[in-house]
């Protein structure tokens, strides 16, 4: 008889997603339209097949997303028959809950936190599944698979529950919620290899395309009405692609000729700049990510 040998990281992620469905009453999958959350959707399909994914997707829309991402999101949801909830950062701004940043590095990235916490409260979500990986950033390296947050969404890194073997303790009190990271142990290369092996559809901006950009601080920024640009910063057209897909104001492009998944995978293999190196928000300070996580950032 043919023996099926599992891929250990995929098997672990599926196990985690099933534990979420079993241990929580109102889980939600935080969907950004990026490759990590797209991978999560595929893993969730596998975890519950032939039944449907038993939780909705939540997209916190900054209003500054790449249009390609939004188109892709809507296509995927329709294709797989998923339930999608969208909450807008613009609404939080209009309600006076957060203030738009101004100036050279203005971004709506940090503003997402308020919108997310409001959505958690509105829908009484007790588990938010996210596509964060421990290899992305130093502070993430210590994140748990089940990460308990208090009523204010805060992360207390000194008081985390130890996770032993593969036993997941999702017991929480009313008002608390858990952030769940099923692909904690995947690397960027793992995700790309998986997308290629599984032939998973992803937004077009992950592939090389011509785009109007400008250069600042050694990074390539999208030239667009949402991104602050000084008069002397010259707009040029280049072949670029994105390695992460976030808010336009904080996601830098890389020069690339990679137009297929094979090209992308070999580019990642050869690459000497880490994925978060193209995230402008992390360059603000050495402890940027840790500081944001403490106040409830995803």
């Amino acid at each position: 008889m043919n023996l099926f040998i599992p891929n250990p990281k995929e098997a672990e992620s599926i196990y985690i997603l099933r534990e979420v469905a079993a241990q929580f009453e109102r889980p939600v999958l935080l969907f950004s339209g990026g490759k990590d959350s797209i991978t999560l959707v595929r893993l969730a399909q596998k975890a519950f097949f032939p039944a449907k994914i038993p939780f909705p997707l939540l997209h916190v829309d900054t209003g500054h997303n790449f249009p390609e991402t939004i188109e892709f999101r809507d296509w995927l949801v329709k294709e797989l028959g998923l339930e999608l909830i969208v909450r807008n950062v613009q609404d939080s701004i209009d309600q006076g809950k957060v203030r738009e940043e101004r100036g050279r590095y203005a971004s709506r990235n940090t503003l997402q936190t308020t919108t997310l916490l409001d959505a958690i409260e509105e829908f009484k979500f007790d588990a938010c599944i996210g596509g964060a990986r421990r290899d992305e950033e130093k502070a993430r390296a210590k994140e748990r698979v089940f990460s308990v947050r208090d009523d204010f969404g805060q992360w207390d890194e000194k008081n985390q529950r130890p996770e032993l073997f593969d036993m997941l303790n999702g017991k929480i009190h009313v008002g608390q919620n858990v952030r769940v990271f099923p692909i904690s142990n995947w690397t960027e290369l793992d995700v790309w290899e998986y997308i290629r092996t599984e032939n998973i559809a992803i937004p077009s901006i992950y592939f090389a395309h011509k785009r109007e950009v400008f250069f600042r601080d050694g990074m390539i920024w999208t030239a667009n009405e949402h991104v602050f640009r000084e008069a002397h910063e010259e707009v040029v057209e280049r072949m670029v692609r994105f390695r992460t897909v976030g808010d336009m104001t904080c996601t830098a492009a890389v020069l690339s000729e990679a137009t297929s998944l094979d090209d992308v995978v070999s580019e990642i293999r050869e690459s000497t700049i880490s994925e978060r190196g193209a995230r402008i928000d992390d360059k603000r300070s050495e402890a940027a990510m840790e500081t944001r996580k403490k106040v409830g950032y995803f």
Partner: protein, 419 residues
């Protein structure tokens, strides 16, 4: 096989303060080209700010602000790197006396332990503790990395003396000689980490990386009876799958195949495996570690927390158990204390009947104890509200371990290994 068709090896590292553990990991990352330009730049920047005239690789792994300020590691950090053949996951665990908890945590998900020894200091009390935990958790393979050989003039005598001291410990443990490997190295200078050292011609073994690469996951995996704890019952109730009733879960210990005669616990009902599903594929036989869905030939009662096993291979089913406990929370474990016991995915209530003894983690024996405090290891007897279906930890790591959850805070307070 892992995603890229590489093998996956999971490693826990243990060492005392200043043994150079973070430096060793940083060196492995650097030499395997796993550190990217921006990370190397960040390390250069930080090293310069601190006034070092060398690259401080420990900065690559010490993540949290508090740690960077104090220059120590205070929690388990996970680090990933790969070679052409192998994906590695490293659980970097701190080496302080008070952080037994972290090493137990890191070791629980690892097949290999690297225990660091400072060549100038030799085997110290901390080494005993790290090895004790490796032994308690039944780590498959231990690498004793004797570091800072550059500071003892790469002396073979120093190496042999430390090895002899360590061999005394091995004699007190359950390990066989084949499970332990000694490697003299210098993490700072990169000697015998990924590059063979010219200064130690007397050492004929592999470099650390070469050694880790020849390990085979199959050899590191335990062979036990097949255990299938049911996570969720899958009932699609769709047109195409109208009568489908599948049991999802992760398989441990051994393989299962279509046609196997199985027993569902606790009911004891028997049936036959009708089909095995993985997403849209039907499988004939699945290896341990698979997250799959089983269907059974008969309509038997089976729900979350139940366990499917091969008929004739039933585990023990008991309402009272003896276990070795490691306390991982600052709230002490006391006689009479009530907890939620989580065994795999199954939860029952538990009461501490007796604390038999506290175990010294330096192999020096036991003492009587009223309670087990954070980082204490002891033998306890527990009474349960319902029987659990377990193997001894010695027979099966996955089916022989449990955690205790505090009923008030819901924190994970203990980890237990069933006798």
């Amino acid at each position: 096989m892992d995603i890229q068709g590489r093998k996956l090896i999971k490693i826990a590292t243990a060492g005392s303060v200043d043994d150079g553990k973070s430096t060793l990991i940083g060196r492995l990352l650097y030499d395997t080209h796993s550190l990217t330009t921006d990370k190397i730049e960040a390390i250069e920047r930080s090293s310069k700010q601190r006034g070092y005239d060398y690259l401080d690789f420990s900065l690559a792994t010490d993540g949290l602000v508090a740690e960077r300020e104090q220059g120590i590691t205070i929690d388990v950090a996970h680090i990933y790197f790969n070679t052409d053949k192998t994906n590695f996951i490293v659980a970097d665990t701190p080496g302080h006396v008070e952080y037994t908890r972290n090493m137990v945590t890191g070791a629980s998900t690892s097949q290999v332990a690297i225990i660091l020894i400072d060549a100038r200091k030799g085997v110290i009390e901390q080494t005993y503790r790290h090895f004790f935990i490796s032994n308690l958790l039944r780590i498959s393979h231990v690498v004793v990395a004797i570091n800072k050989m550059d500071l003892v003039e790469y002396s073979e005598d120093v190496f042999l003396k430390i090895k002899a001291d360590f061999d005394v410990l091995v004699g007190k443990s359950d390990f066989t000689e084949e499970q332990i490997t000694f490697i003299p190295l210098s993490a700072l200078k990169g000697e015998n980490v990924t590059r063979k050292s010219e200064h130690m011609p007397w050492y004929v073994g592999n470099t650390l990386l070469d050694h880790l690469e020849v390990l085979e996951p199959e050899d590191l995996q335990e062979s036990a009876a097949a255990r299938f704890p049911v996570q969720l019952v899958i009932r699609p109730k769709t047109e195409a799958y109208h009568d489908f009733r599948g049991f999802s879960g992760k398989l441990y210990g051994n393989s299962l195949q279509v046609g196997d005669r199985v027993t569902v616990l606790p009911s004891g009902n028997e049936s036959t495996i009708k089909s095995i599903h993985f997403f849209d594929k039907e499988l004939e036989r699945a290896a341990p570690g698979s997250s799959i869905v089983l269907t059974l030939a008969d309509e038997v009662d089976c729900s979350r927390g139940d366990m499917i096993v091969k008929s004739g291979e039933a585990p023990s089913s008991e309402k009272s158990i003896s276990a070795t406990i490691c306390q991982v929370n600052s709230k002490a474990l006391k006689v009479g204390g009530k907890y939620i016991l989580q065994h795999g995915i199954n939860r029952v209530l538990a009461k501490v009947d007796q604390i038999e003894a506290k175990i010294h983690t330096d192999f020096s024996g036991t003492e009587e104890a009223e309670q087990l405090k954070l980082n204490d290891i002891g033998k306890v007897n527990l009474r349960l509200s319902k029987p659990i279906h377990f193997d001894s930890y010695h027979q099966s790591k996955s089916n022989g371990a449990f955690i205790l959850i505090d009923e008030g805070t819901y924190d994970t307070v203990s980890v237990g290994f069933i006798e």
